[in-house]
Symmetry: C2
Subunit: 407 residues, 2 copies
């Protein structure tokens, strides 16, 4: 791809909203993007002129997109590792590389590696049958325990909380590789984001609190309210160390449990811009999307500092209303400081179709404003999210979901 | 154009950097953009998939681009008014409309209208020959005076400072319509930006100071340092009033002289996002590009408030260095807080190819950082722009150019 400023071109595999927001950041840096999209109208394809529609599982298709691009990066972690190795060998630097992505693709590999590094994780073990699961439960506090597929899912799911081994019988019968994990008594979920370049520079964003509902990220508060500064530093150091040890290039998101007894445990890893970093688009000096681009291009990283005391992000999920644009007059008139980011996606129930950011000094006010806007986009009233009903220092963990699906 | 969120589509005429930055803002709002570009590789065409290459002076071409778009807006003010009236009549709302754009297209119309409104302007008069120019000079303090073409330019220029009528002989002989204006003894140039929607909502940005060199905007400081709050309010009110009286829709930029004796006079009008508003991309709660889109789509306007005490913008002009990307490692490593916006334009001497923004509390530090980065992109050292050499409260007007070309 030609660049008037002699920038190397970047190939992005996957046409979701993460690629779309990377493209938006690429405009300011004047970095040409060649997109491999699942369809002609997907989120990122709508706003990028150099788009190939094709299957990321096909090596020839990947080669065609990488042609003329110095670097290949990703909207998701699903590209087959052998294809990434082939591209790498042909001179298209895959960032993150297949050796790093493995730990975001396979939960058993991730747990084994983090355990070997001494990184605190929930108690875990590979399991393949009911007897093994019973042994795992007996070694701890008994049931319930969490059962996870190591890669992808089974029957549309990848995580189960089971009360006894019988509840997992069907999954065992299917023969998919599984691990068991303790059901962590967590106080809340946190997320630590780091950007890392091939030359080893790392920038970490302030640690945030994320709230999941039904396995989907619902809202993020930056920085995590009331987080002990030592815990925050520990989480940032952990993200930096994992990024370096696993040789991650680009954004690494480390989803964390803060346990009831004050420990930090790693829940999941993601190696791409992450939903828990969308607040950075308006709340940080450099967005996670710009820093992902800078990292994979081996450019010096931008400042990850927060620009406001608090930034709140609330996701907009597909709801009752089909026409998101119809919500603009209300939400924009009500709140001139609200930042709206829609992904150009048609509404389907539960689908992430956008997010809103607000920033300022009064956290309760910000939560109320962002929740109201998201609710309005979703076609519901937000009586149920009155911030006065909620004491931020004493969150009921039963309200919270576990096993976020990330993104 | 189809929109998954049922947004109206927007046609943008002209493929320069202003259109490019509008497109970047349109990504977050998920507003589809159909671009009419001068060539396949111009700045805005590089980042927009729905682009028609053609001539904005051709009505059929304009019709083709407007087809399926609810609103037509502009990267520049050069579209023939009769074409705009035709599009308007066919149901494509032109915003700003031809009746407003006239006052950005024709300096005599602008001066007549502003004078009728009682808006303070430099002393001016239409002139068509040497005798008329001598009379204009004699009515004031004599020569030098400023001669301007009312529309476009002559021999590549549109503004001359002349010491006697003989110096304008060639222009008079060419028969182009001209006006004469007093040579204002200005202390500095200011700019007041307003966004106005068809339903009449107006938002004004903080008044900025702009520094011109050779008729090109070089740097902008937001807000204008040391500006009397009453003067600032007067300038904002003036922009609001002009926007309303002229029925401007979108961004209106009012370029102003602050005179040595403390008055505010209107220099030029522009009806589109403006170089003196580029600081808003990182320095305001809503960028001028987003507010231009919101205004022309008749959506409620976003907050124009500044996010930092000071924001400094410095333009990057084409200089010695052909490869702008090569400057990234230095400028990014030296200043992680610097925000870079390049336009994807090949370097030509004096051509605007990008800008940098920095924000913070220490104005001298910000000026030094932004000037250093721009100088580095331009392939020169910045010894000549040491902020310690300059007293911001006592700027030498001889350093400054007059008659900015806007954009």
């Amino acid at each position: 791809m030609q660049s008037p400023i002699d920038s190397p071109a970047l190939a992005i595999v996957g046409g979701g909203q993460l690629a779309r927001m990377m493209e938006q950041a690429a405009v300011s840096l004047a970095v040409p993007v060649h997109l491999l999209a699942e369809g002609p109208d997907v989120s990122a394809a709508q706003v990028n002129p150099a788009t190939t529609v094709g299957d990321y599982r096909d090596l020839a298709t990947l080669r065609g997109v990488a042609e003329g691009c110095a670097v290949v990066t990703f909207d998701h972690e699903h590209v087959p590792p052998e294809h990434l190795r082939a591209l790498d060998a042909e001179g298209h630097a895959c960032r993150p590389g297949p050796h790093a992505l493995l730990f975001a693709q396979d939960k058993r590999e991730m747990r084994e590696r983090l355990t070997a590094l001494g990184v605190p994780c929930p108690r875990w073990a590979p399991v393949s049958d009911a007897a093994g699961l019973d042994r795992f439960a007996a070694d701890g506090d008994g049931y319930p325990v969490v059962v996870k597929t190591t890669r992808g899912g089974y029957d549309g799911k990848g995580v189960w909380v089971v009360e006894d081994a019988g509840a997992a019988a069907e999954v065992f019968a299917a023969g998919v590789p599984l691990i068991a994990e303790e059901l962590v008594d967590f106080r809340r979920e946190l997320s630590a984001l780091a950007a890392r370049s091939p030359s080893g520079q790392v920038a970490t964003y302030p640690v945030v609190e994320s709230k999941q509902e039904n396995g989907i990220c619902r809202e993020v508060i930056a920085p995590a309210p009331g987080l002990d500064p030592e815990r925050a530093a520990e989480a940032e150091m952990l993200a930096m160390r994992v990024a370096a040890e696993l040789d991650v290039v680009g954004i690494l998101a480390v989803e964390l449990f803060e346990t009831a007894d004050g420990r930090i445990l790693v829940n999941e890893l993601a190696m791409r811009p992450h939903n828990t970093g969308h607040w950075t688009m308006d709340g940080a000096e450099t967005s996670q999307f710009e820093n992902h681009l800078r990292a994979v291009l081996d450019l010096p990283l931008g400042s990850p500092r927060a620009r406001a005391r608090w930034t709140v992000m609330v996701n907009i999920l597909g709801g009752e209303v089909g026409h998101l644009y119809d919500a603009y007059p209300h939400v924009m008139a009500r709140d001139p400081g609200l930042k709206v980011h829609l992904y150009g996606k048609a509404v389907k129930p539960g689908r992430k179709v956008g997010h809103v950011n607000v920033y300022g000094d009064d956290l309760d006010d910000l939560l109320a404003r962002a929740r109201h806007a998201a609710a309005w986009f979703e076609g519901r009233l937000d009586d149920d999210v009155d911030p006065d009903d909620e004491d931020r220092d004493d969150v009921d963990p039963d309200e919270w979901d576990r096993g976020s699906t990330g993104e």
